[in-house]
Symmetry: C2
Subunit: 209 residues, 2 copies
């Protein structure tokens, strides 16, 4: 199984690295980071530089395509060259996946037309304008498409995908290997659980960015 994770200026590091750490641990699976041009790609914070080892145009027919989110999606949603590459690769994938606002890129490429999909909770409505049917959920499967909720949800989505493709034992072994037994000191990870003023604050920041 070959997996291509697409990097672009302004992606969110954890969107890509969370699922990578799960998928790369399956025996025989090969993850590759790709971008429009080879070389270093900087994240939304500017602080992280990740190397793309292959140019998108050189990417063959990976079984899994994964598109992370990040503030860079705004600009990239209008990058026809990138969107065309996503469509080309999607044409032969077994699974096309996204994390967070990565679903906006898939939708802009026309790949979520009429499909149920999710993404970061503060960015669900724009999916509708792009022809998808936005729904809640940690990850949402519709046909060969799996879209995950915000940032950290990519880890859960990747474990689900490994369970589907390699079996629950492999997924459980990887979960144990990365000691993914989450126990955050607060319980504020969704707008339903976080205190209302916190939800308002974060919504405002998202709108302003």
């Amino acid at each position: 199984m070959k997996i291509a994770i697409v990097l672009y200026e302004g992606f969110t590091a954890l969107d890509a690295i969370g699922p990578y750490e799960v998928l790369r641990s399956v025996p025989g699976w090969e993850v590759e980071f790709v971008a429009q041009e080879r070389g270093e790609v900087r994240t939304d914070s500017g602080v992280v530089g990740l190397t793309a080892d292959r140019a998108l145009a050189e990417v063959g027919e990976p079984e899994i395509l994964l598109v992370p989110g990040g503030m860079g999606t705004r600009k990239k949603m209008e990058d026809e060259e990138l969107l065309a590459e996503l469509r080309r690769i999607d044409a032969t994938t077994k699974w096309t996946t996204s994390v967070c606002t990565g679903s906006l890129l898939l939708a802009a490429a026309g790949l979520l037309e009429g499909k149920r999909a999710t993404g970061h909770w503060a960015w669900l409505e724009p999916l509708r304008e792009l022809g998808a049917e936005p729904v809640g959920g940690r990850y949402v499967e519709d046909g060969k498409t799996i879209t995950a909720a915000g940032v950290s949800a990519g880890i859960d989505m990747a474990l689900y995908l490994v369970g589907r493709e390699a079996g629950p034992e492999v997924a459980q072994a990887i979960q144990l290997g990365i000691e993914y037994d989450p126990d955050p000191p607060f319980d504020a990870g969704s707008p339903e659980k976080a205190p209302a003023p916190i939800v308002e604050l974060v919504s405002g920041i998202s709108r302003a960015e």
Copy 2:
């Protein structure tokens, strides 16, 4: 608040990127990736290259030091130059922290002498041989040292640290921002919860690596 995250050949990407994504979101906090030499550092899988923007020798007095784990720790535990730099930086930190087997590097540097500490569940006993008192827990605080359990535990530890330093509202806002409302499809993230054969399998792989 300045935070230095130490990279070295063979670190585990999620150990570093999980807490980074939390810490970098605090207004006014500055995260920097550092290594013995500036430039690209490859992870344990070889698939990820992350850029270190500063050489360790050029690192001043960050308030927070964070050391990720990974199979590369084996070799680095005997790298006296690296261990000396960790001791030098630790001398003026407010918090010295690690994720996963990063605690073995701190211990090898003599920084966990007599302290309660944790790390990846399969690598707790080696901590004792290095003078620490290994204990379980998602993250363990002893004085100014906070050590986190395996790989994904760095996210929980970072949220805790933000709660301590910037207040619970900021930590909750960040948790909501990264939608950290974990819901893995399996419940196998700790040796107490995973099926016994899975624990045996993963222990065997850890020992063999």
